[in-house]
């Protein structure tokens, strides 16, 4: 094969590979920014203390409901 053709093919392949990496990096960067940008106004950040209180309340509510369900099954309701 003509050496010039071989060099041309190698050059095109190298440029294509680098362009592929560059596109990947750009898309990765865009995704990283989108995933980590501050929440929108429609998604207010709940303070930690409120979240912890909510967690406690949810488990306590579950406990009451759980006891009720066990009683219903045992009573054959």
């Amino acid at each position: 094969m003509n050496p010039n053709v071989l060099v041309t093919i190698q050059t095109i392949a190298r440029i294509a590979a680098e362009a592929n990496v560059a596109v990947g990096v750009v898309f990765g960067l865009i995704k990283a920014v989108r995933d980590n940008w501050p929440r929108k106004d429609s998604e207010p950040v709940i303070p930690d203390a409120e979240l912890i209180a909510l967690m406690r309340a949810e488990f306590a509510k579950n406990a009451d409901r759980n006891a009720q369900l066990i009683a219903e099954i045992e009573a054959g309701v």
């Binding site: 203390a49 406690r56 306590a60 759980n66």
Partner: protein, 156 residues
């Protein structure tokens, strides 16, 4: 290509770190976020188990449902204790105090929740079609437990 990587990787790392910092959630806050999700998943799971138990006429299925509910009740009790522990971690951090021991205690509680689901709930549900939904719900809890462990582990 090396030059390209040398320039872009630090920028990428900086963007990620800045993004996490801007979100402003402490590890125990993130853990509580997952704690709420676990509580909701437990609530949904026990409704499914309760429905299966009430609908079945097979004594073994009803007994299994009650045992699974008892396992989930253990999760509820431990969940309240975990919320208290996260509260203590949050207060200790705000006061500039040491949180290591509290975090270890919280991780221990999460391990107990994990064990309660794995040993006390999943074996009771079996793999019958009527309990499959309950099994899926219980498995979702274990996935959330893994995530909460990951986030709480970041306090160390």
């Amino acid at each position: 290509m090396q030059t390209l990587a040398r320039r872009t990787i630090p920028i990428l790392a900086l963007v990620l770190l800045t993004g996490c910092a801007i979100k402003g959630r402490t590890p125990e806050g993130l853990a509580a976020d997952y704690g709420v999700r676990i509580a909701k998943t437990v609530g949904a799971a026990q409704e499914v188990v309760g429905a299966v138990g009430k609908a079945s006429t097979v004594p073994q299925v009803r007994a299994g449902a009650v045992k699974a509910l008892e396992g989930l009740q253990t999760v509820n009790t431990l969940g309240v204790q975990l919320a208290d522990k996260l509260d203590a971690i949050s207060q200790a951090r705000a006061a500039g105090g040491e949180t290591g021991t509290l975090v270890q205690q919280a991780v221990s509680l999460i391990d107990q929740i994990d064990a309660a689901v794995t040993l006390g709930v999943l074996p009771q549900l079996g793999d019958l079609p009527e309990t499959r939904a309950a099994l899926d719900a219980a498995r979702a809890i274990t996935k959330l437990i893994l995530e909460i462990q990951f986030h709480l582990g970041r306090t160390e």
